[in-house]
């Protein structure tokens, strides 16, 4: 009996792979496993062949049936474990100090394709020389975290005598965040038309024209809210050394709040690995395929965290449906269900009357192709055994010996 060498196995499996009988990933897994086996035992060519035929048989057996209601099954497979999920919104994951929405609320958020998710989080990986240098990582983090006047001022007061607003900067904080007082002055000057003066090296005085107390108070609030540094929407950043990222551990920045497009532009950020949980930002920045992948990744994360076993194919189908039009559509009234072609399907989901009236003005035609429509009118649905139709070939005479009837010539009618 001839034995297989590693070279033979690789050659044979390459051949097998290119035959396209089973997905490539299965073949490459098989190569790995065979090589591992070969260390301990011998494999004959005959055995190899029977392994291959067994693999093909197993794969063929597991194919989906044509007409399978894969949509409904996906919806059920994701919806059913929903009853077993926790409702607790906040959970600590990865970074202990940070809140992350998980469980059922997060799943609903994903499916709803919310424009403003409750706790968007970015995981910012750093470029080579930044990733291992804490000092440099901190610099990047400082550029990302949104710093407002209120974050660096010990107090913002109103000086009624001088008719001015007085910002008392906390010099320690300033140093901590690597901001000079002049920078603050510049930013303030840029945002307010009145003169900004530095007094005593830590006080900023902004003279005001208004003298009304209430309007000064309003101005004070506005000044407190002026951004000095960082990206819009990012409330907090945390730098952590992740031991199992990269070769010998890397510094990774986590941010509460998300501004994906801007963050990728910051020097020192590794745009290839940086990730956000904000689906729409991914769609805007990286495109719809990336958004599709992140829908899968985010849903997967929720389900695994809850210890629920759901096949990837179901999640993939939902993600593919949500992104099939080129933009993220939500599952529900304002998305897929609301844009269905059938009037009856829309009417029987939500906002019944609106859809009926709209159909009337538009003179819509419901072709009864979907499920709900046919259930409503009491006809067979085109799913499962219902997809099969009897077809009659119109020129059946091809198979008979009879002379075919002359086909009447179609003459284009004038007007």
């Amino acid at each position: 009996m001839s034995k297989c060498t590693i070279e033979y196995i690789e050659k044979r499996l390459d051949e097998f792979k290119s035959s396209g009988q089973v997905p490539g990933i299965v073949v490459s897994n098989l190569v790995d496993k065979l090589e591992k086996r070969l260390e301990k035992q011998t494999i004959t060519k005959k055995q190899l062949e029977s392994i291959l035929s067994e693999v093909v048989m197993n794969y063929k057996f597991a194919q989906v049936d044509p007409g399978a209601a894969v949509g409904t099954i996906a919806a059920q497979s994701i919806g059913e474990p929903g009853t077993q999920m926790t409702l607790r919104t906040f959970h600590f994951a990865g970074v202990a100090e940070m809140n992350v929405t998980l469980g059922l609320p997060r799943l609903i958020e994903i499916v709803d394709a919310r424009k403003n998710p409750s706790t968007p989080i970015m995981t910012i990986y750093l470029a080579e020389d930044y990733a291992t240098n804490e000092e440099k990582a901190r610099e990047v983090a400082q550029q990302i975290e949104l710093t407002k006047i209120e974050n660096i001022a010990s107090s913002v007061d109103i000086d009624l005598w001088e008719n001015a607003i007085e910002v008392n900067l906390d010099l320690d904080l300033l140093k901590n965040k690597n901001i000079t007082i002049e920078e603050v002055q510049d930013r303030l000057q840029y945002r307010r038309k009145n003169e900004v003066e530095i007094i005593d090296g830590y006080k900023l005085i902004i003279k005001q024209d208004e003298s009304e107390l209430s309007s000064l108070q309003r101005l004070r609030e506005k000044i407190r809210d002026i951004a000095i540094k960082g990206l819009k929407g990012i409330k907090r950043v945390i730098i952590r050394k992740e031991a199992n990222v990269g070769e010998s551990g890397e510094y990774v920045i986590y941010s509460e709040g998300s501004n994906f497009m801007q963050v990728l532009r910051i020097p020192g950020v590794d745009p290839k690995r940086t990730y956000t949980t904000h689906l729409h930002e991914i769609a805007e920045t990286l495109g719809i395929e990336a958004a599709r992948n992140s829908i899968i990744r985010e849903s997967r994360k929720v389900l695994t965290e809850q210890g629920l076993d759901v096949d990837d194919r179901h999640i993939m189908l939902v993600a593919d449906l949500m992104t099939s039009s080129g933009e993220i559509r939500q599952i529900g009234r304002h998305g897929i269900s609301g844009e269905k072609n059938s009037v009856i399907a829309r009417a029987s989901f939500e906002v019944t009357v609106k859809h009926l009236l709209q159909a009337a003005t538009r003179g819509e035609i419901d072709n009864l192709t979907g499920i709900t429509e046919n259930v409503v009118v009491g006809q067979m649905i085109s799913l499962g055994t219902g997809v099969v139709d009897i077809g009659i070939t119109p020129n059946y005479r091809e198979f008979s010996t009879e002379e075919p009837e002359p086909v009447p010539e179609i003459v284009a009618e004038e007007n």
Partner: protein, 902 residues
């Protein structure tokens, strides 16, 4: 061929024109009355006989059919003045804003229209409706036209220097329109536009303009949104009910129609009599109100019309919308015949494929069976038995289509003799019939499965315990539904596609969802654990219970010289003889180096050539929802028939086994010796001291703040961590005293029920109670209960329960425990509704998607969602826990399992 089933191809929506309303009307309704004193319908009234009949026995005056066959016929009311249809008020508003008040054309010239068209990318054009202006263009046209101030098509009658001035239109909800005129002196004048004028204006819109405005002029003319004639729905749509007292009570719609006719008549009379403008206008407005509420009684801005009792009327819109509306209640979901519902109870002796049906139900549910030459004798017997007495029949349908009710026959023998091939007998449900069995909520497809009937005494449905999991059923009073398919096609589809054994693998993750639960697992532990031996009598009992006939060779001879069998041997009698498989059981503790078959914990389950040679079969071996188990392997390698046989046989053997030895858990199972109690008490006391110290350091201000947290949060976290640890520690202490002889431990370890945490709570310490993930803080000001001082942060004051369930809780502890328990209840209640709604949305969005013969996944109009399902076209149900091919198993199979030891 006239009874060929007709198929609806499509439904075209549109508006009824006044002419069409009149044409389809069989009767003009002019009298606001329903019935006269004698109870006969008033001619020309709302219950006019021409509108169809609701009295049984009476024939319809229009179509001549009786109730049930008469579809009902519309009448009509001629409205004295036109009235706006509320549903279209916004459309009318937009139209009025987009057209010229004189010529009725869209106030955009060619170039601007072209600009709008050009602005829309070509790819956005809706290809399914080529030729019709896409609706988002119509929105754009409406928006643009609303901005225009002067009409480009006609000349202002007041000032010929420019086009007709367009005034701003204001809609005062729901149905009043105003025109805001700007006079030359800069003041504004607000004029009401009557629905009469609106109608005239809308009439001027040309068909091509209609298209631009998003109206399909072939089916809908804009002026039809103003009603001049009102269709009166047939009587069967609004049947009156006769109460027990003999008083007739009319439907809400009838009430509303009475109002409409009454006001309409008054308006007509006043108008014709030349009454003052003010009175006519008041009546007109009243008519508008009544028509509005007739169409929709929940319009904002006007009070809903009410019944005499004060209840708001349920008019047309209310009938259609919402969960209880026509669409969701009657059209998407339909009531069915041939169904039954009763309480369920367990029966381990049934096969998983079976369902026990009470005789009383089997005598009512029927299956139609055609009489043939071959079954005529059997059918005769059924007919003679009649509706009483079990395998009988309830009806005979003769060849002429006549239906004979066997309940009312004097002599069934005569009927039986008259049977001829071609008759249909509606016979009782009997053993072996295929039925569908369902438990709500039907969250996934395995909530409805096909079972084979077993007719049984008593009044409950019986089912095998292994199928509890897919239905999520228990027996604390659950009820289930049963449906009997009536055609051969339905029956065979149910049998082939929906039978329980075909659904052992769930599509959710491709593993068995049907499997053993609870006592089966306990019993299996006893059967397959090391050292479990059986005498000949016992072994035969077990093997016969599993419906097997042959005992294997005894393993050996015991001291008294009698042969004995091991439990593993008996289990192996049920395995396919060619089976080879290795897995880890619940008892595996993941030693650094696996001892394999020598594992004394029973953690290494090895099956060689159909013999279990080591390991314990527990939850991981054949439990429900356990992928990669022995059960899963049998299913994948030997198919559903073999798996059903294995499960049926093994569970029966396990019942017999646990009957032999008995199993129970009691108070003393969670009792630990005094020494252990002392150690636990000491632990708790120490931890409480530690907590108090933490509080003291905090109060002195010496506590160090953790990054990202406030001082208070830091303290809470430290306390929580300390208290969580003490619960675990005391659980572990109690576990030291509870060995494998303890019933509760056996259940926990084998995975039958409960876990060590539960046991710890019962025997050692219940631990910290929490609400929203924090210690309990709410109640009184700065304290949870008045028994504590203000600001008490101690363990006791924030809901730490020292006691165990065994020792019993103090009142305060009990209260704290109830706080945590209540949160759980609220959480469950909220969760079911939110997740239910999420699932409804998911299903609605995804239900049209299916795989097709070309391998693509498409929606209902053929749009491609995936080019190949799930990237590999593999059905998760048929996959091996998500994998298309389980390479390890194949390699093992082909390369032969290397045996342990060598």
């Amino acid at each position: 061929m006239s009874n060929l089933p007709k198929r609806i191809d499509s439904i075209h929506f549109g508006l009824l024109s006044p002419d069409e309303i009149r044409r389809m009307s069989v009767q003009r309704i002019i009298v606001a009355d329903t019935y006269d004193e004698e109870g006969t319908p008033v001619p020309g009234g709302l219950m006019d006989g021409a509108l169809g009949t609701i009295d049984p026995g009476q024939r319809c005056r229009t179509c001549g059919n009786r109730i049930g066959d008469c579809p009902g016929h519309f009448g009509s009311i001629e409205l004295a003045r036109p009235v706006i249809h509320v549903g279209f008020n916004k459309v009318i508003y937009k139209l009025l804003n987009a057209i010229c008040r004189v010529c009725g054309r869209v106030v955009l010239d060619e170039t601007r229209i072209k600009a709008i068209f050009d602005a829309v990318p070509k790819t956005d054009l809706d290809f399914s409706r080529i030729g019709i202006v896409p609706f988002h263009i119509a929105d754009e046209v409406l928006k643009e036209a609303a901005k225009v101030k002067q009409c480009p098509h006609c000349i202002d009658p007041d000032d010929s220097s420019h086009g007709t001035t367009k005034y701003k239109i204001r809609l005062e909800k729901p149905t009043t329109f105003y025109e805001e005129l700007e006079l030359e002196d800069g003041t504004k004048q607000i004029n009401k536009i009557t629905s009469f004028d609106i109608r005239e204006l809308l009439r001027k819109i040309t068909p091509s303009d209609c298209q631009l405005l998003g109206i399909d002029s072939t089916s809908t003319r804009p002026e039809w949104m103003i009603l001049t004639a009102l269709p009166v729905p047939p009587v069967c749509v609004r049947p009156s009910i006769t109460l027990d007292s003999g008083i007739r009570s009319e439907d809400d719609l009838t009430h509303k129609l009475v109002d409409i006719i009454r006001i309409n008549q008054r308006l007509l009379e006043n108008r014709d009599a030349g009454a003052p403008q003010l009175i006519v206008e008041d009546l007109w407005e009243l008519l508008q109100y009544h028509v509005t509420t007739f169409l929709d009684n929940e319009v904002s801005g006007i009070p809903p019309a009410r019944h005499r009792s004060g209840r708001a009327l349920r008019t047309i819109t209310q009938r259609l919308k919402g969960k209880e509306g026509r669409f969701r209640l009657n059209l998407s979901g339909k009531r069915v015949d041939f169904s039954a519902r009763t309480v369920i109870s367990p029966d381990p002796l049934l096969s998983i494929n079976e369902v026990g049906v009470p005789r009383a139900i089997a005598e009512i549910l029927t299956v139609p069976e055609r009489v043939t030459e071959w079954n005529i004798e059997e059918m005769k017997e059924l007919v003679m038995k009649g509706p009483q007495g079990h395998p009988g029949a309830n009806y005979i349908i003769r060849n002429d289509g006549r239906r004979v009710d066997l309940r009312f026959t004097k002599d069934p023998n005569i009927l039986a003799d008259a049977l001829a091939p071609g008759f249909i007998i509606e016979r009782h449900l009997r053993d072996g019939d295929v039925v569908l069995f369902n438990r709500q909520p039907s969250l996934h497809r395995i909530s409805i499965m096909a079972h084979e009937v077993r007719v049984m005494p008593y009044r409950t449905f019986r089912l095998n315990l292994c199928v509890c999991r897919p239905y999520n059923a228990d027996f604390d009073g659950d009820e289930m539904n049963l449906h009997v398919p009536q055609s051969e096609e339905a029956r065979s589809e149910a049998y082939i596609l929906m039978r329980v054994q075909e659904h052992i693998s769930t599509p959710r993750y491709g593993g068995p969802i049907i499997g053993a639960i609870q006592d089966f697992i306990t019993s299996s532990y006893f059967l397959t654990m090391d050292g479990s031996v059986y005498t000949r009598e016992e072994a035969s009992t077990l093997v016969t219970a599993a419906h097997l006939t042959d005992l294997p060779e005894p393993r050996g001879i015991d001291e008294s010289g009698k042969p004995y069998w091991t439990g593993k041997q008996l289990f192996s009698t049920l395995l396919p003889t060619t089976m080879n498989f290795t897995m880890k059981s619940m008892f595996c503790v993941h030693h650094d180096e696996c001892k394999r078959t020598a594992c004394e914990l029973g953690g290494y389950v090895a099956i060689r050539n159909g013999q279990l040679i080591s390991g314990v079969i527990d939850k991981k071996g054949f439990g429900a929802e356990q992928p990669d188990s022995v059960l899963h392997r049998i299913l994948k390698e030997y198919g559903s028939d073999a798996t059903r046989q294995f499960l049926d046989g093994f569970t029966k053997m396990l019942i017999a086994n646990i009957d032999l030895r008995g199993f129970s858990m009691g108070f003393d199972d969670v009792d630990i010796p005094l020494e252990g109690r002392r150690r636990i008490d000491q632990q708790i006391a120490d931890t409480k001291d530690h907590v108090n110290q933490l509080i003291q350091t905090y109060e002195k201000g010496l506590l160090e703040r953790q990054p990202g947290r406030t001082l208070e949060e830091t303290l809470e976290m430290l306390i929580m961590a300390a208290l969580a640890k003490v619960r675990d520690n005391s659980s572990n202490i109690s576990a030291e005293y509870l060995g494998m002889a303890n019933s509760a431990v056996i259940m926990a370890k084998s995975g039958a029920r409960g876990n060590m945490l539960n046991l710890g709570q019962m025997s050692a310490c219940v631990g910290q109670q929490s609400v929203r993930g924090k210690r309990i803080t709410r109640g009184y000001k700065e304290r949870t209960l008045p028994h504590f001082k203000h600001g008490d942060l101690s363990a006791d004051g924030r809901g730490f329960v020292d006691a165990s369930f065994r020792s019993g809780l103090e009142p305060i502890e009990f209260f704290m425990h109830a706080c945590g328990g209540r949160e759980g209840l609220v959480d469950t209640a909220v969760r079911t509704s939110t997740s239910g709604y999420m699932q409804r949305r998911l299903i609605n969005a995804l239900q049209d998607i299916s795989s097709l013969y070309d391998g693509t996944v498409r929606d209902s109009i053929g749009g491609i969602i995936q080019f190949i399902y799930g990237d590999d076209n593999v059905d998760p149900t048929k996959s091996d826990h998500g994998k298309a091919v389980n390479l390890d198993i194949i390699l093992d199979k082909v390369l032969e399992t290397e045996l342990e030891g060598d």
